[in-house]
Symmetry: C2
Subunit: 443 residues, 2 copies
């Protein structure tokens, strides 16, 4: 009988296994994709793209045992040779090629030059050819940083006693209700795709005290803007036994501190490739909604048109205001008007026209909505009745409250937006692997 | 201006902050839900449910400054008192109550006794009342273990150089095609929910070499069995530069070794609550599909009815065979017949009627399907033509191959099934927070 005993050790090395200090003259085997070839006459540089970066390989007629004409871009190869310290090469080393084994061949030349520093395509072309355009080192780096953003979220919350949950995306009803729902037929029953895990995560606070989920949400909004997606990844948490909604903002601030630290430590290469300066998250100003509107109106001479909404332009100006006045990249806008928040939002006991809720703006764009929720069954029912929210189909949600729920609150963070603002992008599609919008359903 | 500077430190303590060795006589504040109350006459035990377990609190008339009649099950409270070492209490300590502050009240008595060791309901009732039934300590523990299963997957793969990706769940086409698709309208265009991230993760191998995703998948299968769900969480990975499909099995074995180690270390409490003995994953036998069928047929006298399928009963018997003959909880069944594998499966060069693919059985049930994929553009096109698979709508997928892809392969693991088999369940709904099946769309 044959047995599988664990990872099969590879004879090939990765870039992190080739530190310039101690591998001069070492014979190694590597694999990778031919990113680009620069023919210099006597020698040629064959730049290999590996998951950790680029490795400069040197083809020398006579020394390298293959024909130069056999090599071309977008092949994948396995090569053996000798490492040489070379300051001008990426990573400070290069590989003098001895043998090259071609693992796979492309069928055609690349449609555009992915090896260029800046991808020479429009965003639309980049999205159409995602499997190719992301081979560009800078484009790829954005999604490595996105990994750090999610990874930091989970690792930080694990350390704070949160439990990870997986809630269903197909349901009979959705948390926010309304028109922006994708509808489908589920074995002859009408169903919807969830806009948020809101109800589920609240129900699970009664079980685990603190829960989080990192999963897709679906919004059939007919927006066509640089900041809207119809499917995105939501980083959600919900926590019980809070003393107030400041606990939620404190937890988010703690996450941002942890996450930026993680990026600094484990994703420094990608930050450098993109020229990213991480935001300062030591302290984040928190200002009331009505005060923020007033401050922006006064400083920038913008008339307040709607007292209940923070319009995108006002968000941008609020971001600018706190940048200018406090050097802050982030600002919490608190106490949103009740009429603009869902029924489960906890009203401010001092003025029920406002809620104990907040948005977090990052460089002038909303990346989080959160707040304290109503936890008392009777108050919740009352609010639903006042709002005309049907209890039908909400029995399981209401049962959580009927049988006792701790004071709690939580938030949702849009992953793609946060990544966009971190990496200095200005269209959320740039930081979405395969975006879904009004016109885009493929690839 | 007010600033948020990070996590707000709590004055309350968690159970892990109350080790029996060094907290005798300590005054502490705790919060939690009243799990159950045992009135013993002179004193009463008020058992608090906290996220880390149960804490025995002692109500003593005169000493405790509240009325006993004010306390009831399913309240949430904050209490202060003195810690006493008490061997008979869970965790070895108890809290002598001095003050009790009620944070929230239930509106009704619990519909069933969640505090019983075994939940006294049917599975259907438990699923209808998920927000309540999971307050049972054993039910809750299953999902803590599920967390460890996912967490181990990610952490292990991060350590192996994988990048986490997030792929869209709404698409124009799906990887496996066929009839088992949920269909919806996407802004006046027909769309489907993805059955698997297969195409996307393959495309991303050309970018990141190694990728993984942990996300929901949707299958409109009309099965009504103990092991099928219509929406489940799939743990997927895909890796490039493999020498053969044994690399995939090796990586999965490495994951199982890491994950069981993590459970042992960080989820020991939950393993104990459920009486779980972790499987032996030091080495996993691998046997060809045709040989497995033969062995099972010979040993258990079961006639081979279909040479192309491993029927559920045969899976169970194969599990039994390798348990009896090798003491193995897991077995890899390799070289599935080509006609039963999707078009992208790599055929065995030694016999193209079979593929370089595998399933992993855990205690007689399939929990993984994986294998090597075709990476050559022309071979892939040829296979699609032979199978009658339309290239329309597959342009982006095919582009990845047209412009060069390394040899690669991967797998998908059903999270709920793996959790079920680990925790000794016999219905996959037991280890799904909110299952979706033919009849269940709520809660």
């Amino acid at each position: 009988m044959k047995f599988i005993t664990g990872i099969r050790e590879k004879e090939t090395v990765e870039i992190s296994g080739l530190p310039a200090e101690d591998c001069e003259g070492k014979r190694v085997r590597v694999n990778g994709a031919v990113h680009t070839i620069r023919d210099m006459g006597d020698v040629a540089f064959v730049i290999l793209r590996k998951r950790e970066g680029l490795l400069q390989c040197v083809f020398e007629e006579g020394l390298t045992k293959c024909s130069f004409s056999d090599l071309k871009e977008a092949q994948t190869i396995e090569a053996e040779g000798i490492i040489r310290v070379e300051k001008r090469a990426p990573g400070g080393v290069e590989l003098l090629l001895e043998t090259v084994k071609i693992l796979s061949e492309p069928a055609e030349r690349l449609p555009f030059a992915v090896a260029k520093w800046k991808l020479p395509t429009t965003l639309e072309t980049s999205l159409d050819y995602r499997a190719v355009s992301l081979r560009n080192i800078r484009e790829r780096a954005k999604f490595r940083i996105q990994e750090g953003v999610v990874r930091g979220f989970r690792d930080f919350l694990y350390s704070q006693g949160f439990t990870e949950i997986h809630t269903p995306k197909i349901g009979a009803k959705s948390a926010e209700g309304g028109a922006n729902l994708f509808r489908l037929e589920y074995f002859h029953r009408p169903a919807v795709l969830q806009q948020s895990p809101q109800f589920y995560k609240q129900m699970m606070v009664g079980v685990f005290d603190r829960v989080f989920e990192t999963a897709p949400v679906f919004r059939a909004e007919k927006h066509s803007t640089r900041r809207h997606l119809n499917e995105y990844t939501s980083l959600d948490f919900e926590m019980g036994y809070i003393d107030g909604f400041e606990d939620i903002m404190g937890m988010e601030t703690g996450y941002l501190q942890y996450m930026t630290g993680l990026l600094q430590r484990d994703y420094a290469k990608e930050l450098k490739i993109l020229g990213v300066t991480l935001p300062d998250v030591e302290k984040i100003p928190a200002v009331r909604f009505d005060v923020a509107k007033q401050l922006v109106s006064e400083k920038y001479g913008r008339q307040i048109r709607s007292p209940y909404d923070l319009e995108p332009e006002e968000e941008a100006l609020a971001g600018r205001y706190f940048q200018e006045e406090y050097g802050a990249d982030f600002v919490f806008i608190t106490h949103y008007p009740s009429k603009k928040r869902p029924f489960y939002a906890m009203e401010d006991p001092e003025d029920p026209a406002y809620t104990l809720s907040f948005d977090l703006l990052f460089r002038g764009m909303e990346i989080t909505t959160g707040g304290q929720r109503i936890h008392d069954y009777h108050r919740l029912l009352e609010k639903m009745q006042k709002r005309g929210v049907q209890t039908e189909g909400m029995e399981a949600y209401l049962a959580a409250f009927r049988y006792g729920m701790p004071p709690h609150g939580g938030l949702g963070i849009g992953l793609e937006r946060l990544t966009m603002k971190l990496t200095g992008g200005d269209n959320v599609r740039e930081t979405t692997l395969f975006p879904r919008d009004l016109s885009r359903l493929e690839p």
